[in-house]
Each structure stands twice: as C-alpha cells, then as structure tokens.
Amino acid sequence: MKYLHDIGSYFVMIKKVFGSFTKRSVLRELIFKEIDDLIIDSLGIVAFISFFVGGVVAIQTALNMTNPLIPESLIGFATRQSVILEFSPTFISIIMAGKVGSFITSSIGSMRVTEQIDALEVMGINSLNYLVFPKIVALLFYPFVIAISMFLGIFGGWLAGVYGGFTSSTAFIEGLQDSFIPYHLFYAFLKTFVFAFILATVPSWQGYYMKGGALEVGKASTNSFVWTSVLIILANYVITQLLLSS
C-alpha cells in the first residue's frame, strides 16, 4: 500500500514539474547554476574513477589470459566492451546517485524543513517547476559526462596495458576496433538518458516530500541513494533485456 502511494506521488510530482512555469529569465539562471553544481562539479571524480577503473579492467583481463592462443588484442576489446556497455553508463551512475543524488535530496529537503518551499508557494511560484525542472535540464548534459568517462576509461586501459607491459599499443588499438557494433553505443547512451532522468527526479522527490527536521534530511539522503541506485539497476536490467537480447 505504502509503495503504491509512493509511486503515485512520484508521478504526480513529475506532472506538476511541467505545470506552470517560472519566469524565463529566472529559470535560465537556475539552469546554469544546476549545470555547474550537478555536471561540472562531478567531472573530477568521474574522470578519476574512470581512468583508474579502465586501467584495472585492462590489467585484470591481461592477467586472466593464461591461454597463449588468445590474441593480445583481447585486452583492448574487453576494456572497450566493459567500459562502454556497463562501467561508464551504469557504474558511474551509481556513483552519481551517491554524489549528485544525496546533494539534491539534502538541498531540497533542507528547503522543505526550513519552510523555504512554503515561501515559494506563498509567493505563487510553482515550487516543483522552480526546483526540479532546472535539474532535469541540467542532467540532459549527463551523457557528455558519460562520454568523457568512456574515453578516459579506455585511455586508462591503454596506458595500463601498454606501460604495464601487458600488450603492445598496436594490439590494444586493434582490439578496440575489433567487431565494433555501433548499436552498442546507441544502447549505452539511451540508458544514460534514462539514468539521467532517474538521477534528477528520484532524489528531488525524496527531498520534496520529506517531513521532519535536520535529522530526517540525513535519513532522506540515505534513502534517496538506495531508491535511486535500485531504480538504476532495475532500469538497466529492463533496457538490456529489451534492446540487446533478441
């Protein structure tokens, strides 16, 4: 029963976000601020993680290639496949559920408990449009973050592979180009868009409808991480089933 009510309130929220719009000039400013907070501020950690995990994927693949019949180019191939298909879109999104998600929940949640949201409503402003719409727009840039992550992940793999003495650069690059399916990129970026929408809206919903005080803001942020990551994992499963298995 409670879950049904929660799901209902989520969709009601989405509908209201696109209800009456905030004044254009103000909205534009809010969007730029969100791009800064949600996208630009995440680039550092995403770059760091992608680079090193890409490297580890390459090393792990190399270390597990005990059969001399397997070509060296498999290292490049495996790095490319795991980074593009899962690591960058899904794993990075889970990290973002922790970083961006709890930031969104705690900032909206603290506006709720200190009556700042009521203050917006009293002024006749659609607070959901004011608070959530700019986040959705900002996260339309999220696929760029993931593209950077893919690039750095593969670059990290190449660096670790070549300078760790596991593969030659030529073999790695040959592996990168080996049986490349463009549809996989489409799949990866489609799910990135879905995850972006989840990342923008689920934490907002957790913060917006929370009750209580400062302590509850902390709890809501934790909850928000759980909900967001569970939904990302489920969406990942569904999209993969629909798009890749045929």
Partner: protein
C-alpha cells in the same frame, strides 16, 4: 479585510479546525493565539491557500478564494507577504537577492529600480550594510528583519506572520513586534500574526482570536483580554508563571 466563515480542516481522521468564523481587520495587527497544537499554523495555512479546508469559505475583501481559479489565486498571492517562523530565507542567496526575489518574479522593473526599492525596505527595517551577506552569516533577529523586508517589498495588502518572535530574546522580540505593527499602520495592511506569546498580545494585540483544540473560544482586544472572566482566556493568560504571580499579588492587594 479577511473574513473566515465556518472553516473545517482535517488530516486523516483527526479534525484540526472545527468550524472557525471570524474577521481580520484592515490596518490592524490581528492575533491568533493558543497553545501549541491548537491549530494556529493550520489556520494560517488555510488563509494562505496552502491547505484547502473541507468546508467553509475565506473571503479576501469581497472575493472567496474557493471561487478563484489558479490565475486569480496567483494574482492574490502577489498581494500577500509572509513572515515564516524560521525566517525561511533562501540560503543560496544573499540578503539583497532574497529581498529582491519577489520583485524579480513579479515586477517588470529595471534592476536599478528594484535595487532602490530593496534598499528602501532594508532601511525601513533598520538594516544597512548587510546586502552582500548570506542568511547564515547574520543573527536570528536580523534574519527576521530581512524576512519582513522581503514580505513587504512588493507592497502587499496582507501580511501573515507565524510566531514572529520565536527563538528571539525578549528585547529583540519586542522590537520585531513593534516593527510589524508600525508597518501595518503605515501601509494600512491587514496583518495576521500567529503567536503564543503573551508579551505580543499586550504589545500589539489590536484584535485577538483565541483558539483551543481547533475551536475559536474567545475574541476581543488586548484591553478586554484582562477583563474577561472567560475561563479559557484566564487559563491561557495565566498559564505563564509571571502573569500568575502578578495576578496573585493583585488579588492579595484587593
């Protein structure tokens, strides 16, 4: 003037407001008093249209908010200023941006005109040289004053205050009360103040409405409140130790 007719408001099975009728006069500070949990904030939020009563009507001058469509309600809200219990300043904005916010949202003025108006209201609440500070950097009393400035910047016809002096020392509390009353008289605003503070009642209670468990049990002026022998009034007034002792002394002297 705001007129309330028989409003009922429930949450779940619990009826919080049980049929309240009264009027709040223009150019006066109207007080809603009562113990914690008596429904004062719920009543205020009904007046503001944040809560929808199941029954009853609320009139702003001649028009009932129940009859207004969304656009009309929004237009009405441009005439309303609200001072929240904790100030509710936007903590991502500095003081100047906070006070300018309603103007940016609703007026078509130029930036320089808006800034002029912001400085005018900030000096009206005796705040100068804090324009670039953030809410977290100023004291609670100053935050309340900024909040008043934000509430009146758009020249509202109605001003609502929820516990304006909670969390303030008695002296600052009196200053804030007096400021609210002066502004009410100066701009001929219909002001509604929610409080449980007897000092406020004595200072600014031009019209006082006492709620108890969601019912209106008494209304009158702060002059009348000490004369009536209505039991609910005396229970509320003399629930404060200080007043109880004063009362005992008075009775002894008689």
């Amino acid at each position: 003037m705001i007129k309330v007719e028989d409003i009922h408001k429930s949450f779940g099975d619990e009826e919080i407001l049980k049929g309240i009728s009264t009027t709040f006069d223009k150019g006066k500070t109207n007080l809603i008093i009562g113990q914690s949990g008596s429904g004062k904030t719920v009543m205020l939020k009904c007046l503001l249209g944040l809560f929808k009563p199941e029954k009853g009507r609320i009139y702003y001058e001649e028009s009932a908010i129940q009859d207004m469509d969304d656009d009309q309600q929004r237009a009405l809200r441009e005439d309303i200023g609200m001072l929240f219990q904790g100030g509710a300043l936007f903590d991502s904005m500095n003081i100047e941006e906070n006070v300018m916010f309603p103007l940016r949202m609703f007026s078509k003025q130029k930036k320089s005109e808006m800034l002029e108006r912001v400085n005018e209201v900030l000096s009206r609440v005796n705040l100068e040289n804090v324009n670039k500070k953030f809410p977290a950097e100023i004291s609670g009393g100053m935050q309340k004053r900024v909040s008043i400035a934000r509430a009146i910047v758009n020249r509202p016809k109605y001003l609502f205050c929820d516990e304006p002096n909670s969390g303030l020392d008695p002296k600052t509390a009196t200053l804030i009360d007096n400021l609210i009353q002066e502004i009410t008289h100066e701009y001929d605003i219909t002001t509604v103040v929610v409080t449980h503070d007897m000092n406020s009642v004595m200072e600014i209670g031009e019209k006082v409405v006492l709620l108890k468990k969601g019912k209106l049990v008494w209304q009158g002026t702060n002059q009348e409140i000490f004369k009536t022998d209505n039991e609910d009034v005396t229970n509320f007034v003399y629930s404060s130790d200080l007043f109880k002792k004063i009362r005992e002394v008075q009775i002894k002297e008689q």
